[in-house]
Amino acid sequence: MIGLYLPGNSILHRTPAGLKLLLLAVGVFVVVWLKQPWQIGIALVVTAGLYAVAGIGRRAALSQLAPLRWIIPLLLVFQIILSNWQHALMTTGSLVINVALAALITLTTKVTAILDVAQRLLRPLRRFGVDPDRVGLMLALTIRCIPMVAGIVREVSEARKARGITGIRGSMMALAAPAVVRALRSADAMGEALTARGVDD
């Protein structure tokens, strides 16, 4: 979501975000209920086909699965030890497909479109005091702040190394304290900027 959206004009890009999220929910449900390895194989082929339809290249597609590169082998080994290879294949296959499908939504849907859906879904809760616009803004800010905090941690980490701070304890303190202080200052500054942009209107 943090800028992973890849512009395009495929049918997947043009499909309304609400419908895509609904289809994702259905897809996840179906994949979880598959019983045979060959069914997982078909689901994998279908998922790959959807990526092709969306015009997303192999590199971008595979990078969506990169966070799973440590989990998959571990899960596979544990499942083989505790169960059998078919079950291991089913579990890991389901995980890969579901992550790939969710990533496909991210790659083909703008954040604002997803937020619009979230705001529409939250509208009935208005009578209970929930402000859908505020929740939408909060979600947007959460997404926006991830790269900002990552940048702060990277800069503090580099500064720590430049000053020759080593050792786990000293190193962690030298990282956490300034990173938290800077993150809080950034939050203050962002709040001020939001006020200037009329968010409190």
Binding site: M1, P7, K110, T112, A189, A193, A196, G198
Partner: protein, 229 residues
């Protein structure tokens, strides 16, 4: 031109006095505010659209008390911060510009048209779908500017908008700021920027130390810093 009036404005953070009896009436088209670090110039700028309230005294914008009518004033006074990263809210460039226009009652096509206009005007055409946090420093400041200008304010206040930029980007942002048709108030350390301004106010220890045409005010400022002219 709009009129900003500071009347006996005091401001303190705890025991530290930041502004100490400021009286100013600003009506010029191009106004510069200069001063040493910690002199109170950024606080003064933030008071124009009510981001900071005076401890005592009053600030008015076209007769409106900013403390009471902050929201109304902020619709007319855009603000650019030093670090554009704090100002960017949405993940992509186009979405961030459009964010300013939410709750304005404009249709989606009108918002799209206004966003396109800003992208073209500020040299960001082609970056509409680009992740905002991956832009260069200069482009981020242009985005911050576009996101403010899309709301069509009558005045723009910029607080050290070029401090984090390299010389080329600083010059570009300065050129863009000075070419705006809106009334502009710039807080800056870049004295050469102010040469063609109508008025420059020097803030020193929370007080107005000089208030004149650029040449005179800058000369006074350099005297205060004990720097050669």
């Amino acid at each position: 031109m709009s009129e900003i009036r500071f009347t006996d404005v005091h401001h303190a953070f705890g025991e530290r006095v930041v502004l100490d009896g400021v009286n100013l009436t600003l009506t010029e088209n191009r106004i510069g505010i200069i001063g040493a670090n910690g002199s109170g110039k950024s606080t003064l700028a933030r008071m124009i659209n009510g981001l900071v309230q005076p401890t005592s005294g009053s600030v008015t914008f076209d007769g409106l008390d900013v403390a009471k009518h902050g929201k109304q004033v902020r619709r007319q006074v855009g603000f650019i911060f030093t670090d554009p990263d704090n100002q960017i809210v949405m993940p992509t460039v186009g979405e961030d510009i459009a964010f300013t226009l939410r709750r304005t009652g404009l249709s989606k096509s009108e918002i799209a048209d206004r966003v396109t206009e800003m992208l073209d005007r500020f040299g960001l055409a082609g970056h509409r779908e680009h992740p905002a946090h991956l832009l260069s420093g200069g482009q981020k400041q242009l985005l911050a500017l576009a996101s403010v200008m899309v709301g069509r304010p009558s005045m723009l206040v910029a607080d050290e908008p070029t401090t984090l930029l390299d010389a080329r980007n600083a010059r570009m942002i300065t050129q863009v700021l000075t070419s705006l048709e809106q009334q502009v108030v710039v807080v800056t350390h870049q004295l050469d920027v102010l040469t063609d301004f109508d008025r420059v106010v020097v803030i020193e220890d929370g007080r107005v130390a000089a208030d004149d045409i650029p040449a005179v005010a800058i000369s006074r400022y350099l005297d205060l810093l004990e720097l050669p002219r």
